[in-house]
Amino acid sequence: MQDILQSLLLAANLVLSGDSDLFEIIGLSLRVSLSAVIYSIFLGLPLGSLIAVGNFRGRQALMIVLNALMGLPPVVVGLVVYLFLSRSGPLGWMELLYTPTAMIIAQVILITPIVAALSQEILSQLFEEYDEQFRSLNVPRWVAVRALLWDARFNLVTVGLAGFGRAVAEVGAVMIVGGNIDHLTRVMTTAIALETSKGNLALALALGLILITISLLVNAGLFLVKTRSQKQKFG
C-alpha cells in the first residue's frame, strides 16, 4: 500500500513538473497513433463505402475477411511486419525497422480492417434505408455515396475515435517493430511494460494515468458525438 501511494505521488509529480522524458513519450504515442488512424481512414473508409454500396462479385467474401482481420492479434501483426522490414526481409532495404514509421505501418494494418468494417456497417445500414428513395429519384451512385458519407458523418467520427483508442492502447505490435528505443520509438504502452519490469513504478504509473485519461477523453468524445447527433435526429 505504502509503495503504491509513494509511486502515485511520484507519478503526479512527474506529470505536474512537466517531465521532459514523460512528455516525449506521450508525444510520440499520440503522433504514431494519430498518423495510423489518419492513414487507416484513407484506406478503410473507401473500402467500407465500396462494400456498403457496391454490387460486385466477392463482396461477401471481402466482408468475411474484413471481419476476421478485425480480430488480428497485435503480436502476430508485429511479427509479420517485423519479418518484412528486418534486414533480410523483402523490404529490409528501406531500413524502417525500429522507427516510428514501422510502428505506424503495424498499427495501420491493425486498424484499417476496423475502420473499414465499422464504416461499412454504418453505411450499409443507412444505404438500406435510403436505397429505394434514391432509386426513385435516380440519384447517381457517386452522389449517393457522398450523401451517405455526409449523413453518417457523426457515426463515422466515432469509428475514427474507436480506431484511435485501439491504436494508442496497443502494445504487442509496436513493441516488436519499434523496439522501445529510448528517445526514438518509446511509446506509452511499451514504456509502461519496460518500466514496470525494471521496478520503476512511478514512471509506469504516470504513463498509465495519462493513458487512462486519454482513453476516458476518447470515450467522452464518442459519447458526446453520439448524443449530439441523436438529439438532432441526424444520427
Partner: protein, 260 residues
C-alpha cells in the same frame, strides 16, 4: 399556399406516357404470388384512385409501375415503353412511409433540386426553390428543422414537396394523407387537383372513402394481387360490380375474407 408549379413543355395529354398498360403481371416473393396475373389499362389522364384492403398489393403495384421492382413475368408499359431511368425521371413516388435524409427539411429539398439531372429545372423560368416548395405544403417555418424530427404528418408533406421538386409528369401517391389533419389533407388535395390541372397524371392510393370520392375520376379496386374492378368513380361508388368491393365500401369486408 397552393402556388402553382408550371410545366412549360407538357401538354395535358401526353401521348408519350399514356396509356399505362399492365399485362398478365405476376410478382412472386418466396413462392408467394403477391401480384396475381394482374391486367390493367389506364388511359384517362385524370386522377386514378387505387383502393383495396390491407395487403391487397397496392404498394407493390406502385413500386412495379415506378420500376423499383421487377415483375416475375408479364409486362408494364408506359406509352409502349417499360420504365427505365429516363421514364422514372418523369415520375415521382411518395412512399407510404416517407424516407427522409438526416438533414433539415430544406436540405432535403435542396438535395433533389441539386441532383445533376435536375439542374435544368433550376435554370428554367418557372423553377421553384426549396423555400417555395416548403411554403406550398405549409412547412415554411420548419425549413431548418431536422426532417426526421418533424411530426408524421409534416414528414408526409415534406415528402410530397420533394416529389413535386422534380416537376414530374406522373405523380404516384401511396396513402400520402394517411396521417394528416383535416386542414393538411385539404392542402394536399388542392395540390393534387392543381397537378391534375397542369396535366400531371396522378395515381393515388387511399383508404379514405370521402377522399376517394372527392378526388377520383376513376377507381381501380384491388384484391389479393388482382384488379377486381376498374370503373368511373361515380359508377364505382354507386354500383360496385363485385361483392368484395361492395363489402369494402360498406366496411364489412373482414380481414379473413381478403386473405382466403
Amino acid at each position: 399556399m397552393g402556388q402553382a408549379l408550371h410545366h412549360p413543355n407538357i401538354g395535358p395529354y401526353d401521348e408519350n406516357l399514356l396509356p399505362l398498360v399492365i399485362e398478365s403481371a405476376w410478382y412472386d416473393v418466396g413462392g408467394q404470388n403477391l401480384i396475381n396475373g394482374l391486367d390493367l389499362r389506364i388511359e384517362s389522364p385524370d386522377i386514378t384512385v387505387i383502393m383495396g384492403s390491407n395487403g391487397a398489393g397496392k404498394s407493390i403495384l406502385l413500386r412495379l409501375i415506378h420500376g423499383l421492382l421487377e415483375l416475375t413475368s408479364g409486362a408494364i408499359k408506359w406509352g409502349g415503353k417499360a420504365t427505365d431511368n429516363r421514364l422514372r425521371q418523369q415520375q415521382s413516388l411518395v412512399f407510404q412511409k416517407p424516407v427522409l435524409l438526416r438533414r433539415t427539411a430544406s436540405q432535403n429539398l435542396d438535395f433533389v433540386l441539386k441532383l445533376p439531372q435536375n439542374r435544368r429545372l433550376k435554370r428554367g423560368p418557372n423553377s421553384s426553390t426549396s423555400a417555395q416548395l416548403l411554403k406550398m405544403v405549409g412547412l415554411h417555418d420548419k425549413a431548418n428543422q431536422p426532417a426526421r424530427s418533424l411530426s408524421g404528418g409534416e414528414q408526409q408533406r415534406l415528402a410530397l414537396a420533394r416529389a413535386l421538386a422534380t416537376r414530374p409528369k406522373v405523380l404516384l401517391l401511396d396513402e400520402a394523407t394517411a396521417s394528416l389533419d383535416p386542414a393538411s389533407i385539404s392542402i394536399i388535395e388542392n395540390i393534387v387537383l392543381e397537378q391534375k390541372a397542369l396535366g400531371v397524371k396522378v395515381i393515388f392510393v387511399t383508404h379514405d372513402l370521402a377522399q376517394a370520392k372527392r378526388l377520383a375520376d376513376e377507381v381501380v379496386f384491388m384484391s389479393r394481387g388482382r384488379v377486381l374492378e376498374h370503373s368511373k368513380a361515380t359508377e364505382f361508388f354507386l354500383h360496385p360490380k363485385t361483392e368484395v368491393a361492395n363489402a369494402y365500401l360498406s366496411g364489412t369486408l373482414s380481414v379473413e375474407e381478403t386473405h382466403q
